[in-house]
Symmetry: none
Subunit: 438 residues, 2 copies
């Protein structure tokens, strides 16, 4: 089998291992598969149990520097299944793209890096220590990663960490991301009765949806988050960060196309960049109450709930904001409950002049023959704070991945361009070679 | 066979004809049975086809007045079957009660009235014209009754109409209901994208739930409906109606218990009565968007919808309010669609001093030896407006039925007290005699 065929075969195998962290489906099986794969490649691997899904940990090589490679092996639920062109856990190739849940987020990235390390090992070129952390709960908020990091601080010590979550922009330029937004994910629930009630009683009983809306109106006015102190801790951008931010070119029409929307909530490119990268959000992920089938049913529902995520920017604090949320709901006499669904994640923004940023930038320029796009922090979230805040690793960067703007992470028909998979392998290979020399 | 035995035999026969409108089971057979029964009693009967289930129509007698008698012959599905003590379509007598699906709702009422007419005919005492409408779709929303009424306006003309839906209260007092609330049932739907979007894009794309909430906030502020003209057409209560309303005795603790709620949205008995019977509502029956499973999923949903029913009081107009709703949503630039899910039903409130109310009240007092409870309008809805608004019948009342608070309409082990069946026959008999004399 030629090298590229073999590298693709490994990716297909991984995509075809379902590993839905929300339900637990296939998680254990996928962790075992990865441990054995690492061992078979000469990487000493073991499984760390957590109170949730297991973490696969591996080590290989030695030298005066240590690089930690973080990925996650879990995926989002594939629902709605009916909207997939081919089954989500059957890796399917159409027009040069590989379709399957996790192809982009994050199995393509995980495997591309591993295949690069395989090349280095096969060629005897590795001369630093590599540590691998493959998490199984990223898509449900990395619930136990923090505990794992606390309990294994020494084991995880490294000079730098390379996280997943990056990829290519609309022009095929690699993205190098110097930080993340944080997140606070909450659920509000209101129960007003023991069962649904005939809606002729609507004048005399509380409707849980109106109560939920009253709460939501006290949190967000459609423009601004109304929680006390919400905006207070936001760290202003440095001039270097501003320069990086405003140099990002983006075509709003292509953004619309890739997101499947007719209009964006932005005035122009600058507004887009400021909002996407530096605005915290209050987003409703789901809401439910009562009768949602076809036609009509006349009831006052007995229960309603809403799921909300707040994306946070440096240096907002998810726990402080959760306290502020509880305080506000208390002030308005909210007749329901609020709970955090996942651990709060802190936002991170790493200095643009750190060594890992230089190595990954220079190798990117070489492999893609294009200037990479450096992003001050991702508009999304990944548990970078665990490594930066808890383990104490100085430099963190999110870079190298095969995903592109058409990859539809978290949605039906997730995919990657297979050529980008091979580029990601090459990029990792050259990045590590350069990083060894810094 | 003595008279009462015969009257019970007819009821048993009808209950033992299944007639489930939701599935269509036994509908045609029951309609044919009723047509033949009416004809056999000397009432000229025929079947009117609709686009749904057939309507049985009958006429008998003549005189200077016409009374229309409305009932429905369809029943709710008997599920869950396992919770019935005796089979739902085998009329079974235990402890003086007759058990069977429809015994109370509405076959007991239908047959009691028919047996009263039989007595009058047998005794040669009928000297007005009676018209009978037996509908077969009441339990599925009277879908085609309006069409039938429009197409047969002249045929259905009458001075008064007596509807079903009444019975006895917890103290055995007959309920006489002078009207109904109307209803406008709408669905609002917002689609902002072709598919769910990763919530890191929340700063730049519209969230359909926030858009729905913006719309809901423009419709209702938690206390008042904000639609232009919404309250304008409300007809104030007359002193007589106020007296009737405030004389209703109710124990709020028992209301809470029966509804399964810990608190009511009312201050006291007077507030309860005013709200329940005279307040229009804006009630959310159901709302849905995005991820509603266990745990968290970070998406901007592509779609959201909400189902709302407005219960209306005299003389609010559901179609006018629907126009006002569309106007408001247009004014706020609502990025979604609004549609009516069912026909709008008009509220009705008949004057307490109308001849039919006097006749039914006086005969009730005589038969039950108790003051009846007169309710100015039901807090619920039934298609009274079809006869009042479309056919143009002046006086409508919902009264006379054998059901009591133990009858479990729509639930397993539906039943009536057999004594209440004979009382309902006697009540109808005396009501018609009095009505003839007014």
């Amino acid at each position: 089998m030629d090298r590229e065929k073999e590298e693709l075969k490994y990716l297909i195998e991984l995509v075809e291992h379902p590993s839905i962290s929300a339900t637990g489906e296939g998680i254990r099986d996928t962790a075992e598969y990865l441990k054995e794969l690492l061992n078979s490649l000469g990487i000493t691997a073991r499984i760390f149990e957590t109170k949730g899904h297991p973490i696969v940990y591996g080590e290989v090589g030695k030298g005066n520097k240590t690089l930690l490679i973080y990925n996650h092996y879990d995926v989002q639920p594939p629902d709605p299944l009916s909207e997939w062109t081919s089954p989500p856990f059957k890796a399917t190739i159409r027009n040069g793209r590989l379709y399957g849940r996790g192809a982009s987020d994050n199995k393509g990235t995980l495997m591309a890096r591993l295949m690069a390390v395989k090349r280095l090992l096969d060629e005897g070129k590795l001369n630093i220590k590599l540590k691998f952390v493959y998490e199984g709960e990223e898509e449900i908020g990395s619930i136990h990663l923090e505990d794992f990091a606390r309990e294994n601080k020494e084991l995880l010590k490294a000079d730098s960490v390379i996280m997943e979550g990056s990829g290519l922009d609309i022009k095929g330029r690699p993205l190098i991301v110097l930080g993340v937004k944080g997140i606070l994910y909450v659920q509000l629930e209101v129960v007003t009765a023991a069962r649904d009630i005939h809606s002729s009683n609507a004048p005399i009983v509380y409707n849980p949806v109106w109560e939920l809306i009253r709460a939501l109106n006290s949190i967000y006015d459609g423009e601004r988050v109304l929680l006390e102190g919400f905006y207070d801790d936001i760290r202003p951008l440095t001039d270097e960060e501003k320069k990086l931010l405003y140099s990002i070119d983006v075509e709003l029409d292509k953004v619309k196309e890739s997101l499947g929307v007719k209009e964006l909530k932005v005035k122009d490119r600058i507004d887009y960049l400021e909002k996407l990268y530096t605005s915290p959000t209050c987003n409703i992920d789901g809401i439910y109450s009562g009768y949602i089938g076809e036609g009509s049913k006349t009831i006052v529902p007995y229960k309603a709930f809403v799921k909300i995520d707040f994306r946070l920017v440096p240096d907002q604090d998810p726990y402080k904001i959760f306290e502020s949320l509880k305080k506000r709901l208390n002030e308005i006499g909210f007749k329901g409950e609020v709970k955090m669904l996942d651990r709060g994640e802190y936002p991170v923004r790493t200095s643009p002049s750190s060594p890992i940023v230089k190595a990954v930038t220079e190798s990117a320029t070489e492999v893609y023959n294009k200037e990479p796009v450096i992003i001050i922090n991702s508009p999304g979230t990944q548990p970078m704070d665990v490594f930066v805040k808890i383990v104490g690793i100085k430099d963190a960067v999110s870079a190298i991945g095969p995903g592109d703007p058409y990859s539809r992470a978290h949605a039906p028909d997730e995919s990657i361009d297979i050529n980008n998979y091979y580029k990601a392998i090459e990029h990792t290979y050259k990045f590590i070679l350069r990083y060894q020399e810094t």
